[in-house]
Symmetry: C2
Subunit: 355 residues, 2 copies
């Protein structure tokens, strides 16, 4: 058995993969593959409906919110959020927790006044900044709930009086969502939601239609709201597999139960990091991510032999992002406690041999 | 066996579906699903490389052209092509052959002067206009090579002195491409190329970088060229299945052989339409599509019983588009001559019973 610690595209539940594989051959008693049926067919219509309903159940989104299944990844939402809701001359506040936030800030600047109200760049993005002031007339505060590269995560959302726009790509549905705090939640699927190729957007409908710029039809959220994400052909298979994954989350007990399991898995790994003389945590303790556990070797010469030992024990994807180095174990919803234990045992063995 | 005449997402080769299904369980001896591996892994890198190389082989694209695998469908290319290459105040010419062309024209108008030099709206988009004059300084001529809804297709590309920008979504790789005629070819995958969720763009590199407008990073073709379609996470599975489908096209003998087979299949169906007293062709003869065969009942009351008879004979997707009515049989690369024969036999049986 292979233990999949890839940061994304990332591990999906075995039962989801089994159903997905079967549906590629034969779907819904149609005698056809799910890949070769019209998105206007009754059968695919049911997939879309289930996917939307599950998203509402998992996020708590009421009818005040639209649920969209788009393409282009979170990277497209970096400009789309600002393009659709931030008028020229209006101000939005952004917290920079590295990489993805930094990119979101860059793209949003094309559309309004972007104030970076806090940044953790001063300590290598190893923490989540908590104290900041918002400019008056701040339209929204944009945050990235979890940083896959540095391994930081908001354990408590900022307590502000403006709505949040939140990139939840890497911790969506890993814990409950207090939907009322948000105007927009967006997430590329390829961590906790499904395979690459679909982007979930949950958006409060009444914030739209207030900017004056000309927006191409495909870039206007309202186009996709009006057409139920089927203005044009949607990314059918990625949506289908996301729907299966959401069903699986519900079967596990929902986001509350996922949070308990995820905290337990993260504890096992962080406890070992803190105990083991060969490793040290990358992110500051209180902001440690429950999804992407980043850690460094205490001696540089440990790097290669530890990766070799991981490979020998069938732990893949443990190499840290090139901009940070060291190690990263991504432990999304679908990874088992057993896989986390195998990695932890590998760390113990490593310390016994090299420490 | 089900005979799949859906217009898109549409039939894929059985051997492709078999490999795709297997890879959803276990890919490239990694012990992991193709859905859950990093797009930066060596194994997925090989998929991207093969997909690009096959696209070059099938299209004839030299190194002067970039090959991109993007998202957002052809509907996104409607604005992206103009946004990236048409400067403010510059002129592009468009031929309107219905629906998709009409949408392309609408979106391009946000970026430059769009001259609709010819339209077949006067006869219900039942033909391809051939005589038109281009304004001086026309930057490019945009055409839609095949119209899925009306069932028309350019059997010969316009003989003009300006470069073509061509939406080939519904007949890509169904026949050889004379690449030198084109500055841009784009196509949503979900007809001849693969499942929904990826969009192929073949673009002449030296036409880029000449417009002055500010373009969000994700909307600039140069971003994706520089990063080999991996600036952000690509739609991995749709690309993978497209790669398998392109391999299949090569195994069949390539685009030249596909054209022969497609013409034979189309002839079988059009001959029956012309012979059968219960049906009449929708598109004018010389512009009939080899991909989407549209036909009408000679009496309105034939519609429901013919669709019932198709269903009884396991022919699915034969209902015409709601804007045209009647019937449409989409006969893409992957449909067999046998399936076309079953539909033709159904038409014969229908005439015997009702005609």
């Amino acid at each position: 058995m292979v233990h999949n610690f890839f940061a994304g595209p990332a591990i999906l539940p075995k039962s989801v993969l089994k159903k997905a594989s079967e549906s590629v051959l034969s779907f819904a008693d149609m005698g056809l593959s799910v890949l070769e049926i019209s998105h206007r067919s009754k059968q695919f219509g049911e997939v879309m409906e289930k996917a939307e309903n599950l998203t509402r159940t998992l996020s708590g989104a009421t009818d005040d919110y639209a649920v969209l299944f788009l393409t282009g990844g979170a990277s497209s939402q970096f400009y789309l959020t600002a393009m659709n809701v931030l008028g020229k001359g209006e101000t939005a506040a952004y917290v920079d927790t590295g990489t993805w936030s930094t990119k979101a800030i860059k793209e949003a600047k094309l559309f309004g006044n972007i104030e970076v109200v806090a940044s953790s760049a001063d300590r290598g993005y190893s923490y989540v900044p908590k104290n900041f002031n918002l400019p008056s007339n701040t339209k929204y505060l944009h945050i990235t709930s979890n940083n896959t590269i540095y391994g930081t995560q908001y354990q408590k959302m900022p307590d502000v009086s403006v709505p949040l726009v939140c990139d939840m790509s890497s911790d969506l549905f890993s814990r409950p969502i207090d939907i009322e705090k948000y105007d927009i939640i967006y997430a590329g699927a390829q961590k906790n939601l499904g395979p690459a190729g679909v982007t979930l957007v949950i958006i409060k409908k009444d914030i739209l239609g207030k900017v004056e710029r000309e927006i191409p039809t495909m870039l206007d959220y309202r186009t996709h709201i009006t057409k139920g994400s089927m203005f044009n052909t949607p990314p059918a298979f990625p949506i289908y597999v996301s729907m299966l994954t959401m069903e699986w989350i519900m079967e596990q007990g929902g986001p509350g139960r996922m949070q308990e399991i995820n905290e337990e898995k993260a504890s096992i790994l962080y406890n070992e990091i803190d105990r083991n003389p060969c490793f040290t945590g990358k992110a500051e303790s209180e902001d440690r991510s429950r999804m992407n556990v980043t850690f460094l070797p205490t001696k540089e010469e440990y790097t290669e032999p530890f990766l070799d030992m991981c490979a020998a024990n069938n732990c893949v994807g443990v190499k840290g992002h090139r901009s940070v180095g060291g190690f990263r174990a991504s432990i999304y919803n679908a990874i088992s406690k057993e896989s986390v234990q195998v990695l932890t045992d590998t760390m113990k063995d490593f310390a016994n041999k090299f420490g």
